[in-house]
Every structure is written in structure tokens, then in C-alpha cells.
Amino acid sequence: MENLSALDPRGPVAEMQFDLIMLSTYVMIFVMVVVFSIYIYVLLRFRERPGDTHIPEQVHGNRALEFIWTTIPILLLLILAIPNVMDTFTLADTSAPTEGEGVEEEEEDVLNVEVHAHQFWWEFIYPDHDINAGQEMYIPTDTRVNVELHASDVIHSFWVPALAGKMDNVPGIENEMWFEAPDEGVYFGKCTEICGASHWLMDFKVIAVDEGTFSVWAENMAEPDPEIVEGEGEVAAQGREVFEGNCINCHAVGDEGGAQGPNMTNYGEREVVAGFLDYTEENLYDWIRDPDALKPDNEMPGFDESAISDDEMDALIEYIGQQRVLD
């Protein structure tokens, strides 16, 4: 799939890392060519031939050779070590954008996002915009994003291969990283630290949109249209009631509701349910009925028909589908 590959970098950080990967690959291919050539020559030239009984000369060693194959690798490693050290410092520098290397923004152009990882979903808090978003991280293009990583239960790791290498979400410790997306698009992200049974399903998306769209998104996320929040139309209004009766303790729409589960303000715009299932009414239905069957060990309880009848479920799904902020 597009935008999931570290080999197809879509931003300056991933590019920097891709360049390092390629540099090291070239150096390493050179090493392999040298070793393999000697190897193949030796095996062909010095194999035992039928009837050969000579005793080879018992050579002890050769100091000059030892010196050569100690020195040359050191030089090759220096070629890799120097850019690596420089990049390591560049990547760790989340203080403020530096001049050069395509990064020219002013400090106020930086977008700060706190990433909170949970078993098994992602929460994105935009402290400067008063936004709490679940599973999808909207960012404006061409803006440096400074990310602060947190974890609420076990260790997770935040990885968006096409934009930036990963950094761990460690409980009790605050990590930082940054990246930038010059192009609009959806960039796929995954958790890369084993975090329990549904580790493999802990996917998320970074969605880069143009500056204008982002400000619409940000405004509506912070203060969604009250009509939508209450549910437009009779069915949705009934859905809102179901939502208030069952969901709101953990899930918020706008600023109303708990934060144990992902924020649902823009749920209707999601492409997937639960981070990985195609957004269809059937999938949403299955998910609410029995989340554990789809994503083992996750925190969301199931709601059987005694809790939410099929009719109520239709209303709820209709209501959820209405929760959109971009149109």
C-alpha cells in the first residue's frame, strides 16, 4: 500500500533516514562484493582435486594484511558514523525549527501534538487548539509537527514509516520527535512495540491536509456544530440518546464525554472502524456488539441486544455517521 514504506519517503525526516539507509547499503554492498569475490575465488582455486595429497604450507599469519583489514573497515565505518551522528542530533532537536535543510518556518508555525498510546488505540491531543482526536492525526502540509509521546498503560511505539522513524511511548517518560509532510495524503502508522494481544491491530493514520482544510478541521473539532452533536433528524436524535445512555462515559463528542476511548467528534469521516475494519454499517455494528472478537483484550465492553436493541443500534450508527467536521 502506498505511504506505508520507509523506502518511499514522503517527508524530510523519512528522507534523511532513507538517505542514511541507502548510504549504508552502498557501503555494505561494497564490503560484500569484496568478501564474496575473495570467497568465491578461494573456493574455486583451492578446492581439493582428486588425487591431490599435498600438505599445504602452514602459514602463521601476516601482519601487513591484519593491519589493512583493520584500517579499511574503520575508514568505511567513519563514512557511516559521521552523518549518522549528525542526523541523530538533528532528529532529536525538537526545540525550534532550524534554518536550512528546507525548514524555514517561524516558531509559531510549529504544530504541537501530544500522542497518547493506549491498549490498543491512539489519542492525539492538540494542546494549542484544545482538540482531542482519536486514531487519526490531522496535520497541515509543510508544517513542522513536534510530537510529544506518552503511554497510559504499557510501552507502545509510534511509527509512520513514510514520514518518520519511530519513537517509543513509554509510561512515565516523555519522548519527543518531529516530522513534516510536504504533500497532502494519508500516511499509515503502526505500533511497533508488542503491547498485548491486539498489538497487530493498533494502526493509525496521519492525514496531511492543506492549511485551510486544517484550520476548518481544527475549528470544528474544538467546537463542533451543536446540531450535529445533538443529532440531525429524528433517527439521529434517538441515536444521540443511545449514545448518551451507553457510550458517553468513555467516548466524547465535542467536549462532552469521557476520554477512556477515542474521541468521536469526526468519526463519520473515518475510513476504518476500530483502526482497521472498513467503515461499513455492518462492521460498526459487529464492533459495538462484540469488540473483543475483533480486537482481543481491548478495553471496550460489548453491547448485546439487551443493552442496545437492533433498532437503537441503527439509530446509533446513523448518529455516529453524522459526526463530521470537514463538510
Partner: protein, 611 residues
Amino acid sequence: MSNSSTSKKSVLWDWLTTVDHKKIGIMYFFGGLFFFTIAGLEAMLMRIQLMFPEMSFLHEQTYNEVLTMHGTTMLFLAAMPLFFAFMNFVVPLQIGARDVAFPFINSLGFWLFLFGGLLLNLSWFTGGAPDAGWTAYAPLSTTSAGHGLDYYIMGLQVSGAGTLMSGINFLVTIVNMRAPGMSMMRMPLFTWTTFVTSMLILFAFPALTVGLLLLMMDRIFGGAFFDVAMGGNVVIYQHLFWIFGHPEVYILILPAFGIFSEVISTFAKKRLFGYSAMVFATMIIGFLGFMVWAHHMFTVGMGPIANAIFAVATMAIAVPTGIKIFNWLLTLWGGRIRFTVANLFALAFIPSFVMGGVTGVQLAMSAADYQFHDTYFVVAHFHYVIIGGSVFGIFSATFYWWPKMFGYRLSESLGRWFFWLFLIGFHLTFFVQHFLGLIGMPRRVASYLDGQGLNEMNFISSMGAFMMAFAFILLVINVFVSRKNTDDVQDPWDGRTLEWATTSPVQEYNFAQTPLVRELDAFWHEKQFGDGRMKAAEPLDDIHMPNGSILPIIITTGLTVASFGVIYSTWSIIILGLLINFGAMFVRSIKEDHGYHIPVSEIKREQGEGK
């Protein structure tokens, strides 16, 4: 003092009580092979699950248990014991010793390994195996439900104690028990790597002991080491684990380096090129093994200075490793290379390991590692070094030393089939995994979604795994069908080192007279410049031998019972276990047992038969 007349006891009792390093070596071999098979089956389960996207062959929870047990079993219970098998069997012979320094502790070490391993695997039947990966990072490991992680902690604690004892035993054996003339710089390279490996064990395992102890404190006694709410810090566990864990991977590779050095020089019919450089490189690798652990933690947030330092230190390891590779190539250069199965594995090791080594250098680059870390790229890398290095080393040693250990030669033709299938299967399985990692497949995932471009390579990888499994079956068959190849087993490869100067099977006292060592490759030297037999360093005399003992098993049983008590937090069982354990230790310490002597007459008779 007991009598020398070895009254024939039952075979089973003999093996249960033996303190003979050769028998212990053989038990390590089969113990290791048993766990190797189990861990291999676990690998197959994983590859079946990953053959197609979104498979539900295994439940996610089961998958996590399988992956944890695969890693843990392979490293602690398969690879290390298999090396211990050869170390135990071969090292005393290579240095011309009658036995190891501590035969009793040697036996204790084996039983601790075995019981620890069985204890760990028992978790499958008691409600679920550990599921937090072989690294068992807190807090996933401290909060994991059920008792799986408790089994992990206690199983590794028990077998780790055995490993530490074995390490000390090898160290003292090599320092104190070398035959006259066997200076440190005349020791065969396998003995050298055993020595350095044992040093790594001595200094690495205590860190694991503490790491596991802290996990135990948190899980069982409510400690707060890794409980963030109580002020704990989860990174501490990662440091402790990797301060052990990185030397551990060198514990797994150095003995293989030793084996390849022996095999390559034997089958090239040449002295090892740059012997002293090889010894020096081994020591440097051992030293650097302790300096680089944090490269497993680049993404944990230590900061750029720490990352940069550990990155550069890690890269430095490529230098001594390169020295070794080139010295092996130059050993082959000008030689007369025979392609026996043992040597095929040694030769296949060179390119395979170089490929694992270069990805190691790539991983060492911290900035790029942010992309590699915890993806299938890493999985590919460490399988290239552990299979391409350690496992090839084990197979090479199996074919090389089999005649000495078991008195018959494994079939070369069947062995060749095994080799080629295994080699091709191995590269098929793991080469594609480099790319899987780079295009977005994290490691330790129970499955992957369709439509992300991961399907084809995962399928190829699984096919390769089937080939390896099939190849392994050929090895097992080989063990059974080759049993008639009992001719030419004393020195079938025109060996260079002292173990080939003994009879096959080796007498319980190894050497009737301690040999006098005059050169590196002592036996080769006598074959080239002497009469083909080792000179004796002492007159023929009675030989002192240690008595066997059942106590190691009793001590181990006690510890295992106590471990159960800990797992289920039951004080009565803990106390019962400790009583058995300390009781047996007490008996051991108050019972004077000075072994027995084999009289000259009997030795002469056996030597006569041996001719």
C-alpha cells in the same frame, strides 16, 4: 573413600548420576535438541499463521505466547545448551584434561538447565505461556494476566543459575587444568572462544538474574520497580535486560566462531591464519559486547548523546568481526579444501554471516534505526546472525564431532541434502524479511492486513520455513540411518587438535597419560613431525576419578519445587522446595567424597583393547 571396582549399575542410574563431562555433554546435546525441536515447531506455527494475511490459525493471544516461547526457548534452551554440549565434550579433551574442574557442579548445571527449561514449558499446560516477547519488557510483563510470565521468570532463573555455574566451571577448567605445554596461546580456538564466552556468561547473567528478580518482586510481591504510579521506571528493566542480552548474543556466536575456526583449518589442511589476531579479536568482541547494549534502546528516548555514543561503539564491533572473516578466508587461501558437510556449513556461514553483519552495522546507525527498529528488518538481521552463525556452527560441529561423541559417522550424502535444503530454505525465509520490515511490517505482529503489500513476501518466507523444517527431519533421519558407519571414527578428518588423539569412544579418563603439548595444533604437530602419537607428560599411574552423584537432581528438584511455590505464591511449597534444596546441599557439603582410583592394571588392559 569408595572402591574403584565400578559395579555395573543400571544404565539409567548411570546417566542420572554421571559427573563425566562427556556424558553431560551428550545430555546437553539431546536436551538442547529437544528444545530446538519444540522451538522449531513454534516457529512453524508462526509461519503458518503469517502465510496469508489476516489468518486466524492461531488466536492473537496464542500467537504472542508462541512467539515469546520460540525466542526464549531457542536462545536459552536450544542454542546455548547445544554449544554447552560441545564445550563440555570437547574442551577438556582439547586441553588434555582428565575432566572439568567441578564435575559435580557441571552435572548440577545441566540438571538446572533441563529442569528450568521443562518448568518454563510447563506453562503451556497450566493456563498459558508467557506472552510478552523473549525480552519481557515491563510493564507489559508485570501486568500480563495469568501465570505465564511467572513461569518465564522462574524457569529462566533456574536455568540461568545452571548456566552461570557451567560458565565458572569452564573458566576454571581452562585456567587450571591445561596439560603441560598447553599455554594459553597454544589453545585451540574453540577453547579460546569457550573461555571468552564463559567470561561473558559470568558477567552478563547476574544482570539477568537481577532483572528477573525485580520482575518477580513486582509481579508476585507487589513491588513498585516498574509501576509508574508508584514512582517506578520501566527503562531500568530494559537496561538490565540488555546489559545481559547483548553479551548473550555474543555468548551465542563466539562458540560458533571457535567451531568454524577448527573446522575450516582442519578441512583446508592449514594452520589457522592469524591465530593471535583471532584470539585478540575474540577478546575485543567480548569486551565490546558489554559496551553496546543500549543500541537495542535507541527509540526508548535516552537522548541523542547516548544514542550517538552507543551507535559508534556498536559500529566498532564490525572491525574485529571483519578481522575474523578475513582470517578465515586467508586460512582457506592456499589450502586443500575438502567439502565435507561440516565444512559446507562452515563455508556457508561466511557469506550468510557477512549478510547478517552488514545489516548489523546498518542497525547500529541510530538515526536509521528509528526506521529499522522493531520491524521485520530486525527479525531478518538476527536470524541471519543466529541461524547463519550459531545454528550453522551447531550443525557444523554436529557433523564434525559426531564420530568422537557417538562412535559413528553421520552420512555425508544425506548430510549434503540436509545442508542444501536448509541453506536455501534459510535464505528464502529471511532474505525477504528485510524488505517486509522496510515496507511497514512491525515485528511480533500476530497477523497483517490484506492489501498492504505484505502478502507475497510473507508467503515466500513461510515456504522457506517449510524447507528448513523438512531439512531438519533429514538430519534426524541421518542420526538413525548412519549408525553402521563405525569404521574410521578415531580421527576421521585428519584432525589437528588433541580431541582426535583420544580413542573413540573416549575412555572415561580421556587420556591414559596426560599428553605433552609441543605446538599449537598439538596432534597435527605430532603427526607431521613426531610419530603420530602424543608424548606423555607423566608416567602411567592410577587415575583419580570423581564419583557420580544423584544429589544434583535432588538439589534441582528442590529448586524447581520452590519455584512452583513462588509462581503460585504458596509459602508451604516454597519452604518444602528450599528444604529439599538446602538439605541436599547440606548432605553434599558434609559427606566426604574423594572419588576413586582406576588402577594401572585396568588402564593397561583397556589401552590394549583400544588398539
